[in-house]
Symmetry: C2
Subunit: 169 residues, 2 copies
Amino acid sequence: MQPTVIDLTVASRNPACDNRSVLYHDYPGQHCSIAASLEVVGERWSLLIIRDILRGRRRFDQMQESLGIARNVLTKRLNRLIEADIVERRRYQTGPDRYEYFLTEKGLDLWPVLMAYLGWGDKYCEPETGPPRLIVHKECGGTVNDRRICQKCGRELEVRDAESIPGPA
Amino acid sequence: MQPTVIDLTVASRNPACDNRSVLYHDYPGQHCSIAASLEVVGERWSLLIIRDILRGRRRFDQMQESLGIARNVLTKRLNRLIEADIVERRRYQTGPDRYEYFLTEKGLDLWPVLMAYLGWGDKYCEPETGPPRLIVHKECGGTVNDRRICQKCGRELEVRDAESIPGPA
DNA sequence: CACAGTGGGTTGCATAAAGAAACTCTAATG
DNA sequence: CATTAGAGTTTCTTTATGCAACCCACTGTG
């Protein structure tokens, strides 16, 4: 299994993507950053879509198949994420227009959330086999913990400093 | 900007992850710690309930009012969390039985996820007013970042080392 | 004693969202 | 000319959520 090369080029908000969809999640009376975040990405599929894009699945059908999500729901989610400036849609072909989805800087900044879930899941969902994948520091090869700190060199890492390799499982 | 190699794919399905509880979320074909975590707590209210309990709202009506969640849904969520061993229900009075809800160790271990969401939300949802709440190190009073590191004394903190106080907003 | 209030839920019904599957559209390929 | 691929729509069904009302066993108040 070879890792996928991902272009993390970041772009600005695309005003062409108009969408009248509303944020149907409304946690009333919450003046809390956690609640505010959850309004945007705290919903069934969003984080898995973001993980998939991070993983290199940039196209509609790839994501749909990998996630097993209904196609109409995937459409809605992607539009919501685009509207929230987390995902960017780029046409890679005209004629029949074809698109790929990329994470914006804001989307990439959700990496800590994914790492936190990964750490928790490794501890409680895969306790005896060990983590199915390890996140390692590209430069020195040390494993990265859920604080995004390299266990070998001690550096505090950003998303671009790390990669995922098969774990002991 | 150079391409980044990231692969959060996960290889093998672990039967230990199977839970006889009714996980109505089923992300088919996902054999990944992130997906596994989201099956348990990646749903509309769970994390907010956990946040509430962490902040000391331990009783049904307190949570119901603070969250604005429907009562029947709160019942269901709490039962799911209890079943998943994230929340523990303790009777504090007999006669008419009265209960309080506490986090188990497993529940407390979700603190990193909350801190990651908090960090993201502070950055993107409350950019001008500043964070509505600050997490501080109880011992030295320094603020805690989303790596759960005290900015003042540099220590790596656990959930019991920190507390939440009103922020500048 | 009557009656309101409190804590911790259930029940029933209406609506909103998710899922499954079929359909569309355009262009390229055989 | 038929088929395939990518990226969605459309339609229909199932599931989840929200809302309001109700229940029950006390407890405190006049």
